[in-house]
């Protein structure tokens, strides 16, 4: 999707998304299972997700607990595996709690984006004509603003966003690409024989769209969703890094990297480890997205 995402220049030139193969979960799983890169990426994501879920039980310290402020930032040691920050808070514990926020925000935001994008793309693709033209103009406008600038503008101006508004905001600025995928699929499907037959037997447009056409768009939805998760994690981290995202006392990986930004020379671990966690997650999601896409017969070229 032609979107400015702060970390990955990876994914955006989908001038015309190629129609993908129809939904076939069995074939999908079999293909994925035979690929070691997918297993590794999947395992890594599973580990990170489980660690995030279990954070309250496995974190060695309270993430907000200041142990010994006079000691300053401590390098990694046996007690503090990843070291501590300037306020002597345990970095591993903060990283684990940060994972909950980073992953949670992006998963929820992508859900919002997929719902909105699917609805928008489905209506545009099914209606066709001037409705389609107009709706796609809006999408093109959305894609023309560098997303980070738009988000910066909104977040900073509206100030002090709650977590749920942040999720909503990220979701509502991430659906443009999804809608293009879905629209392409709906346009390719809407005049196929089974859809025409459903209309001929008296199916209302809504029913034909939801029951007969949209199931064929599940594949692009899934591919777009994996792509979106990787993008939104980085965007949230970027906003938090600039100081406009997740606000204290909550921590995300982005705020942790920001915390370490000014003490890079003396306490490299403070920004290195959260960055590593972020990079690992995004890499794993991108590998999954890449393989999923080629397994489903999408053109490699659009998302390397």
């Amino acid at each position: 999707m032609p979107n400015a995402t702060p970390g990955s220049l990876v994914a955006f030139a989908d001038a015309a998304p190629a129609p993908l193969a129809p939904w076939a979960p069995g074939r999908l799983l079999a293909l994925l299972r035979s690929d070691p890169a997918v297993s590794i990426a999947g395992l890594a994501l599973l580990l990170i997700a489980v660690a995030a879920l279990l954070a309250p039980w496995i974190a060695p310290f309270d993430p907000a607990l200041t142990l010994d402020v006079s000691a300053g930032a401590q390098p990694p040691s046996a007690t503090h595996w990843l070291g501590t920050d300037q306020l002597s808070r345990d970095l591993l514990s903060r990283l684990l709690y940060g994972a909950r926020i980073s992953l949670g925000i992006s998963l929820l935001a992508v859900t919002v984006a997929v719902i909105v994008g699917t609805a928008w793309g489905a209506v545009a693709g099914y209606a066709g004509g001037w409705v389609d033209t107009l709706m796609m103009h809006v999408v093109n406008a959305g894609l023309a603003i560098p997303r980070i600038l738009l988000l910066l503008g909104i977040v900073a101006l509206w100030g002090g966003l709650s977590m749920s508004s942040l999720v909503l905001l990220l979701g509502l600025t991430s659906w443009f690409g999804v809608s293009r995928f879905v629209r392409a699929e709906v346009r390719a499907t809407r005049n196929r024989d089974f859809a025409t037959a459903a209309r001929a037997t008296g199916g209302s447009p809504f029913r034909v769209l939801v029951r007969h056409v949209l199931p064929h768009a599940l594949t692009p939805m899934l591919v777009a969703a994996t792509l979106g998760v990787g993008q939104v994690i980085v965007i949230e981290a970027g906003l938090s890094f600039l100081g406009f995202g997740v606000a204290p006392p909550d921590v995300s990986w982005g705020t942790l990297i920001r915390d370490g930004r000014d003490v890079l020379g003396t306490a490299w671990w403070m920004s290195a480890f959260p960055g590593l966690a972020l990079a690992t997650t995004v890499l794993a999601v991108n590998v999954l997205h890449d393989r999923l896409r080629s397994a489903l017969g999408g053109q490699q070229l659009h998302d390397p």
Partner: protein, 320 residues
């Protein structure tokens, strides 16, 4: 061709208008006040605030403000920046060339490196070079750009390369142009290099995939059958055709480059449009924010149009 260009221009103007209008109302609907920087000053009285609001027309009805905004922009007046107390055009006039220098350098370097890498990968698909550099490219492309920039800071801190700013502040402004240019170039190495690395990682993936698409073609087989050497087949015959999608990508990379530039500029304290945007947004500098949004969406659209034109120029089949 002329009609095509005119249509693109009209579409582009429409999209710029749409994004600007959207931003205008979003900004004005925001619950916060403008002049955040000045408001933090405890000496600011309500009377001063009211005077400022009146001076910038912020006390008028929103629709009137919007009308004034449109007419003044139509006459080329983008207003005065609240925080800089200078015309927006002047503020941007300082910052934008620096951002274009950064983006342009990164684009050229990144594309050169990416195309070369992708071509070599594609010519020896599955070989050690392909797997090594291909894997690294996916890794680099997954790194958040601000984090990569911080790694570069950490790595080069204390080296001969400056890690912050645009020019050495102590450098005599009356120094000969050559010396100043050289100083700027040295400051450019790290930010542009980081951004170029990110571009190259993506471009190389596209280039490789594009070459893979081209190689199975019949005319490639013909060239081989004629006895053309393998190197010439790949680099002279196939690569030329495989470059087409990459040219298009060059124009479409503008939004990603602009977004990337924000983080690279902030991290390396490069005083360009990205740093300016973050500062303007933090200070609620309405005119400046609006101008930056307008300018960047115009850049994005220009990039897309340039991609179309370049594609048409490079592909004779499109000229008919």
């Amino acid at each position: 061709m002329a009609i095509f260009l005119l249509r693109r221009l009209a579409q582009g103007l429409f999209i710029v208008w749409l994004t600007t209008t959207l931003t205008f109302f979003l900004i004005h609907a925001a619950p916060g006040e403008p002049f955040a920087g000045l408001l933090d000053d405890p000496r600011t009285t309500p009377e001063m605030r009211a005077a400022w609001r009146e001076r910038y027309g912020l006390d008028r009805p929103l629709i009137e403000q919007y009308g004034r905004f449109l007419t003044s922009i139509a006459s080329g007046n983008f207003g005065t920046s609240f925080t800089h107390q200078r015309p927006v055009v002047d503020v941007l006039g300082d910052a934008v060339p620096r951002t274009l220098l950064l983006m342009g350098t990164a684009l050229v370097l990144g594309f050169a490196l990416g195309i070369a890498l992708g071509a070599f990968q594609g010519s020896r698909q599955g070989g050690w070079f392909d797997r090594l550099t291909g894997g690294s490219a996916v890794l680099v492309a997954s790194l958040p750009d601000f984090w990569l920039a911080m790694l570069a800071l950490l790595l080069f801190a204390g080296s001969w390369l400056p890690i912050q700013g645009f020019i050495t502040p102590t450098l005599d402004p009356s120094a000969p142009f050559g010396r100043r240019a050289l100083d700027v170039l040295r400051h450019l190495v790290l930010p542009a290099g980081t951004l170029a690395l990110l571009v190259a990682a993506t471009v190389s993936r596209y280039q490789r995939a594009s070459l893979m698409d081209v190689l199975p073609n019949a005319w490639v087989r013909t060239a081989r059958a004629k006895g053309v050497g393998e190197r010439a087949v790949v680099f002279r015959h196939a690569l030329r055709n495989a470059l087409l999608p990459i040219i298009t990508y060059g124009g479409l990379a503008v939004p990603a480059l602009l977004g990337g530039a924000v983080f690279i500029e902030v991290t390396f304290a490069w005083p360009g449009m990205g740093s300016l945007a973050v500062q303007a947004v933090g200070d609620r500098d309405y005119p400046l924010v609006l101008a930056i949004v307008m300018l960047s969406s115009a850049l994005v659209i220009l990039g897309a149009a340039a991609a179309d034109l370049a594609h048409a120029a490079a592909d004779p089949r499109q000229r008919a």
